[in-house]
C-alpha cells in the first residue's frame, strides 16, 4: 500500500514537473523546452524587415492585409486572437498605442489567414473583427509619415484555451481583459514601415 502511494506520488510529481516544463517552454528563461513555441510568419513580409508598400496606406486606405501563417500550435487551443499594433505612437498622450487590426474567435483549426481579409465585423468562419483606432472595422495598413523614423508594426497571435464571449463592439482593452488567464502561447511577427 505504501509502495503504491509512493509510486502514485512519483507519477504525480513527474506529471506536475512536465506541466511546469511545458509552461516554461513559452517563457524566456525555461530550460530544455519540449518543442518550439508558436511561430507566426507571412509569405508577404520578412520578420524584422520592411513591409511592402502594397500592404500599407501608401497603397490607399483600403490596402489589403498580408497573408499570415502559423505553426507549432499547443494542445488545448480553442481559438486564436490577432492584434496588429504600432507601438511607436502614443495618441492623446496616452500609453495605449495604435490599434491597426484586431480579431478574435479565429477557429482553433485555422493555421493561416488569407491575404485581403474583408472589412466585415463577422467573417464566414465565425471570426469577429473589432474597430481599429481609425474607427473602421478590419485591417488598417501601416501609415507612418515619410519623415520617419521607421515604426515597428507588431502582429501578435494569441492561442487561447477558450472562445471569447464578446461581440464586434468590444474594445481592445476588453479583448485583452477577456484573454487574461487563457493565453496558452503567443507568436509575434514584426515588420517596419514609413511612407
Amino acid at each position: 500500500m505504501l509502495k503504491k502511494t509512493v509510486a502514485g506520488g512519483a507519477i504525480f510529481l513527474a506529471v506536475a514537473f512536465g506541466a511546469l516544463l511545458a509552461q516554461d517552454k513559452g517563457k524566456g528563461g525555461g530550460r530544455a523546452p519540449a518543442g518550439p513555441g508558436l511561430t507566426l510568419t507571412s509569405p508577404d513580409l520578412v520578420d524584422g524587415g520592411v513591409i511592402p508598400d502594397k500592404f500599407t496606406q501608401k497603397a490607399g486606405p483600403a490596402a489589403a492585409s498580408p497573408k499570415l501563417e502559423w505553426t507549432n500550435v499547443p494542445n488545448g487551443v480553442m481559438s486564436f486572437a490577432l492584434l496588429l499594433h504600432d507601438p511607436d505612437a502614443a495618441p492623446g498622450k496616452k500609453t495605449e498605442d495604435v490599434t491597426h487590426w484586431m480579431m478574435f474567435n479565429i477557429p482553433a483549426s485555422a493555421r493561416e489567414l488569407a491575404a485581403g481579409i474583408p472589412a466585415d465585423a463577422k467573417l464566414a468562419d465565425g471570426t469577429i473583427q473589432i474597430k481599429n483606432t481609425r474607427g473602421a472595422v478590419g485591417f488598417m495598413g501601416p501609415g507612418a509619415g515619410p519623415a520617419g523614423p521607421y515604426h515597428h508594426y507588431t502582429f501578435e497571435l494569441f492561442a487561447l484555451d477558450t472562445k471569447l464571449d464578446l461581440g464586434p463592439d468590444a474594445t481592445r482593452a476588453e479583448v485583452m481583459k477577456a484573454m487574461d488567464g487563457h493565453v496558452l502561447a503567443k507568436g509575434v511577427l514584426e515588420g517596419r514601415f514609413h511612407q
Binding site: G48, Y150, H151, K186
Partner: protein, 199 residues
C-alpha cells in the same frame, strides 16, 4: 475693432493648427497623419541594428549579468521633462495573461538625457536620479529565448513625458503605465530579435 478681432482669430487658428500638426508628428504618425514635416523621436543603438539580431554579448548566452546595450535618442519633443524606458518580450505570455515579459524598466531618466551608456548598474537608484524598477529583477536582464523557439522580438520603448513620476523603485509596470497616462509627448521604439545559439 472688428478687423482686429478677425486677425487675432486667424492667428489663434494658425497657432492651434500648428499645435495639432506638432502633436500628430510625435504622437500619432501611425494613424492617418499625412506628411509631417519633422521626424518623430528616434531610438537607436550602436550595438545592434533595428530589426536585426541582438549580439550574444548582450544576452543570457553571455551569462545572467550580460551588460545592457548602449542606447541613443534624437528628435526629443520640446515639453519633455523625463523619459521612461521599457524593454519587454512580446512573444511571452506570463501566467497565461496578456501581459508579456518585462526585461527592464527605468523611469525618471532626466529630460536632458539623450542616451544611456552601456552596462547600466543593477541599482534601484542611479546617480542621475533615474529609478530602475523590478522586472525579472532590478536592472537589465538580457534576452534568454531558447534555441528551439522562433526568434523573440525584444522591444525597447522610450516614452518622453511632460512630467516626472512620483513613484519609487517598488513600482510595478502597471503602476508606471498608469502614472504615464496623459503625459506621453513622444515615443520611440527599437526592436531586435534573439534566440540562443544551438547547443
Amino acid at each position: 475693432m472688428k478687423k482686429k478681432l478677425i486677425v487675432s482669430g486667424a492667428v489663434l487658428l494658425a497657432v492651434s493648427l500648428g499645435a495639432a500638426l506638432a502633436q500628430d508628428k510625435g504622437g500619432k504618425g501611425g494613424g492617418g497623419g499625412r506628411g509631417p514635416a519633422v521626424p518623430g523621436m528616434a531610438l537607436s543603438s550602436p550595438d545592434f541594428q533595428d530589426g536585426g539580431i541582438i549580439p550574444d554579448k548582450f544576452t543570457q548566452a553571455a551569462g545572467a549579468d550580460a551588460p545592457s546595450p548602449k542606447l541613443e535618442w534624437t528628435n526629443v519633443p520640446m515639453a519633455t521633462m523625463s523619459f521612461v524606458l521599457i524593454m519587454h518580450d512580446p512573444d511571452n505570455a506570463s501566467k497565461k495573461g496578456p501581459e508579456d515579459t518585462l526585461h527592464w524598466m527605468v523611469f525618471n531618466i532626466p529630460g536632458t538625457a539623450r542616451g544611456l551608456a552601456g552596462n547600466q548598474p543593477l541599482d534601484p537608484k542611479l546617480a542621475d536620479g533615474s529609478i530602475q524598477a523590478r522586472g525579472i529583477r532590478v536592472g537589465y536582464f538580457g534576452p534568454g529565448n531558447q534555441a528551439i523557439n522562433p526568434y523573440h522580438h525584444y522591444t525597447w520603448e522610450l516614452y518622453a513625458l511632460d512630467a516626472m513620476l512620483t513613484l519609487g523603485p517598488d513600482a510595478s509596470r502597471a503602476d508606471v503605465m498608469g502614472a504615464m497616462a496623459g503625459h506621453v509627448v513622444g515615443k520611440a521604439v527599437l526592436e531586435a530579435r534573439f534566440k540562443r545559439p544551438a547547443q
